[in-house]
Amino acid sequence: MAEYIFRVFRYDPEKDEGTRGRVQEYKIGVERGWTVLDALNYIKWHVDGSLAYRRACRHGICGSCGMTINGKNTIACEQQVADLGTQVVTVEPLRGFRVIKDLIVDMEPFYDKLYAIKPYLIAYSDPPTDKERLQSPEDRKLLDGKYECILCGCCTSSCPTYWADKEFLGPNALMKAARFAVDSRDEGWEERVNAIDDKHGVWRCHTIFNCVEACPKELNATRAIVELRRLMLKGRL
């Protein structure tokens, strides 16, 4: 059991109206093996019930608990407190999004970017009835590193380009676009390409790699973006 200080961003729209939020400190004992989510749960359940944050699966698959911990985005439920290497832990809501309350941000703009690139398989040719479409293991492999996204928002929220331009599609939506672009079953490139090729689309990325550093699932959105650009280049040559 080690003593830690958690400096948590707080904002209650009813009480803190007009401010830009405040910091609240909690001094708690952290047991071995605790993740930041465990610590937040401890605070909520034993110290201060009013602390608000999203969580569900608590093992890194639902993507609810994306937040900024010690200045870096990650999902709280996978971040071991001991691995942070500091006794003082700052916890902030994902930046680049509006704060609803405490650590809860408005993810709508994030989802809107996804909707913009038509995040679903588009196939015009009829699939075989009562059978699966075939896809070779090699073709399937192309999806690896793109389909595992849990929509936690850590990537887009870490991207300086997104901080500056809220209409930038962001690494997440672009990766989703790439996931379909490389799927041998998808025929929706024409429909998607305009959104990707937009003024706020794939060309706006400055290969800063914050998104890659932030992704808790170790996905490489920059790779997806670069692949999209190559596809477009090929299409135009």
Binding site: G49, H59, S64, Y115, E132, I150
Partner: protein, 613 residues
């Protein structure tokens, strides 16, 4: 068409815009409900897991107006946590037959599953899988490009006599995740209306007719009434009644509790499955895939102790058997270091296989147990995993008001919250994603048929939101001494100890008293967050209320069923007792406590026999 004809006459059609009339306005000005917070949809689906979204998709495809309410964003539903696979006898890699799958499920259920429902499910299984593929699910592939399948506990060849069979369709070890995301994508494509982060509080049921639900808008705060011709519950499981569980924080029995509150029965609630391989202390699931790929279970003596309990199937025996074997090892002092821990050893599989086939398991082990399975065994412990029981429905997912045949008109349930019952006393691995998908789809289809007959909304009862409004106001104002989190911890700790893998009368009685006491203390709670916007403390308090109600039914049911069957194991009543207990439990909540009734098991083909692996 035909089957709904009878209901037509009973409708009083008050022009679809009932809200427009002064009378209606007066009627609905319940404290806290503003009129703009009343929504009308042909169908309202509660829950956006596989079951909920599949149903929504089916209804939307038929052109009806469907809304999905969910307390977490759709892709955050717990279906996404499923790793191993979804069962279907595709025979993509080796011989397999729907009949074998049928038999395995029946046997897995310890013969408590209804065989008509099971047969339907296994027959529709391949179709659902193909439909998933057509939607764009990135399944793993065989060398010929077909859907990849793996072994899973309890699925074997030749009516239980043969070797394990490759039946679990998979996408690496993220099967649930890809199914959930793909369904959501398709819903986005068709424009299904989602009400995300709405917490459903109560059902609107009068005279055996369901007209929608009342929900709390988590983000903005405020009661909303959802008026619907068809309502479908797909609210998932309730593993959070236990301390060690694989379930999400959101799996808190809300749907089941609301049904109970509406005066309807629940079926077979005493059957709660414990998964043998949860990460020690955390409960986080290490998928059966780890054993499917050949992992060993090792006790403190270094033995593969499953030799003693299931010599043929070894580590691939069904979950309940392995969980009990582990617990027996604990009781006999062979847990690792004398604790309630066993080692799951994957080292002999080699680094390549682990990395390629079990990447997520490796990640989980490293992140939550601090061990790399390539070099070290993973410490594990049985963990509450799946609830076989739930809202009684018929094979078309219609909720049965008496638990037997009388349909609560306009009300369906599917997925883990429902009890069709295809899992009986014990669910086979990979059968529940299948259950959620097949029955989500079936519910959707049935709703479509219903909607194509029923043309108009009936007026809502005057005080439909009263109960929900009162409850929320009560909690917001309550200032008693008790902390909800503390009560919940007491409940969860004790449920794991006293109503877990092994049960007996003494423990269960003790547990029942604890719950009664907790329910009393619950009346004196307070919450620290009194605000309206995203009040997670309010939500936790509401969830606790639901958990306490449902836990009571689980424990009472376990106390009531004096036999051992499937996941329900009474050390004081050895053996399965087909003579007295080959029947489903139906449980109602009354003033005096839990009341029981029973209904026979549907047996069409396989006569109950001893379940041995």
């Amino acid at each position: 068409m035909g089957k709904f004809e009878g209901y037509r006459g009973t409708f009083r059609c008050v022009d679809n815009r009932w809200l427009g009339t002064d009378e209606a306005k007066e009627l609905h000005e319940v404290e806290g409900v503003e009129l703009h917070n009343v929504h009308e949809h042909d169908a309202v689906i509660v829950g956006a897991g596989l079951a909920g979204m599949y149903a929504a998709l089916e209804v939307k495809k038929a052109g009806f107006d469907v809304a999905v309410l969910t307390k977490v964003f759709p892709t955050r539903s717990h279906s996404g946590a499923a790793q191993g696979g979804i069962a279907a006898a595709l025979a993509n890699l080796e011989e397999d037959h729907i009949e074998w799958h049928f038999y395995d499920t029946v046997k897995g259920s310890d013969f408590l599953g209804d065989q008509d429902a099971i047969e339907l499910m296994v027959r529709e299984a391949p179709l659902v899988i193909f439909e998933y593929e057509h939607m764009g699910v990135p399944f793993s592939r065989t060398p010929e490009g077909k859907i990849m399948q793996r072994y899973f506990g309890g699925h074997v060849k030749d009516f239980g006599r043969g070797k394990p069979v490759l039946r679990a369709c998979m996408a690496a070890d993220r099967t649930g995740h890809v199914l959930l995301h793909t369904l959501w994508e398709q819903c986005v494509k068709l424009g299904v209306r989602f009400y995300s982060e709405y917490y459903v509080l109560s059902l609107i049921i009068t005279d055996g007719h369901c007209q929608g639900v009342v929900a709390w808008d988590l983000i903005n705060g405020g009661i909303h009434v959802f008026h619907a011709k068809a309502t479908c519950f797909a609210t998932g499981g309730y593993g959070r009644a236990y301390k060690i569980t694989t379930n999400s924080h959101a799996n808190t029995a809300d749907g089941v509790a609301m049904v109970l509150e509406a005066g309807l029965p629940l079926e077979d609630m005493e059957f709660v499955q414990f998964h043998p391989t949860g990460i020690a202390k955390q409960g986080i699931l290490i998928s059966e895939a780890a054993r499917g790929e050949g992992g060993y279970l090792i006790n403190d003596k270094g033995e593969r102790f499953m030799e003693r309990y299931a010599p043929d199937k070894m580590e691939l025996a069904p979950r309940d058997i392995i969980s009990r074997s582990m617990w027996t090892e604990f009781l006999e002092g062979r847990g690792i270091g004398g604790e309630r821990v066993i080692h799951l050893d994957l080292r002999h599989l080699g680094a390549d296989k682990i990395k390629e086939r079990l990447p997520q398991i490796r990640e989980l082990a490293m992140k939550f147990a601090g061990v790399d399975p390539i070099d070290e065994p993973i410490p594990i412990q049985p963990t509450a995993h799946y609830s076989m029981g739930g809202i009684p429905t018929d094979i078309n997912c219609r909720v049965l008001g008496d638990g037997k045949e009388q349909w609560v008109r306009g009300f369906w349930a599917a997925g883990e919250c429902a009890c069709v019952s295809v899992h009986g006393a014990n669910r086979l691995g990979t059968n529940s994603l299948l259950d959620a998908s097949v029955h989500g789809k079936r519910a959707g289809r049935d709703i479509v048929e219903y909607l194509s007959v029923v043309e108009c909304f009936e007026p809502l009862p005057v005080d439909c939101a009263r109960k929900a409004v009162d409850r929320v106001n009560w909690i917001l104002k309550a200032d008693g001494p008790e902390r909800p989190s503390e009560l919940r911890e007491i409940l969860q700790d004790n449920m794991y100890e006293l109503c877990g893998v092994f049960r007996n009368e003494e423990d269960l009685t003790k547990m029942y008293d604890i719950i009664k006491d907790l329910q009393k203390r619950y009346q004196n709670i307070h919450i620290e967050d009194k605000s309206k916007v995203f009040n997670t403390h309010l939500m936790e308090a509401l969830e606790l209320g639901h958990l306490l109600e449902v836990a009571e039914v689980i424990v009472a049911g376990a106390l009531n069923r004096t036999e051992c069957r499937g996941a329900h194991w009474r050390t004081d009543c050895p053996g399965r007792d087909d003579e007295n207990w080959l029947k489903h439990t139906l449980a109602w909540k009354t003033e005096e406590g839990v009341e029981f009734d029973y209904k026979p098991v549907v047996i069409t083909r396989f006569i109950p026999e001893v379940r041995k692996y």
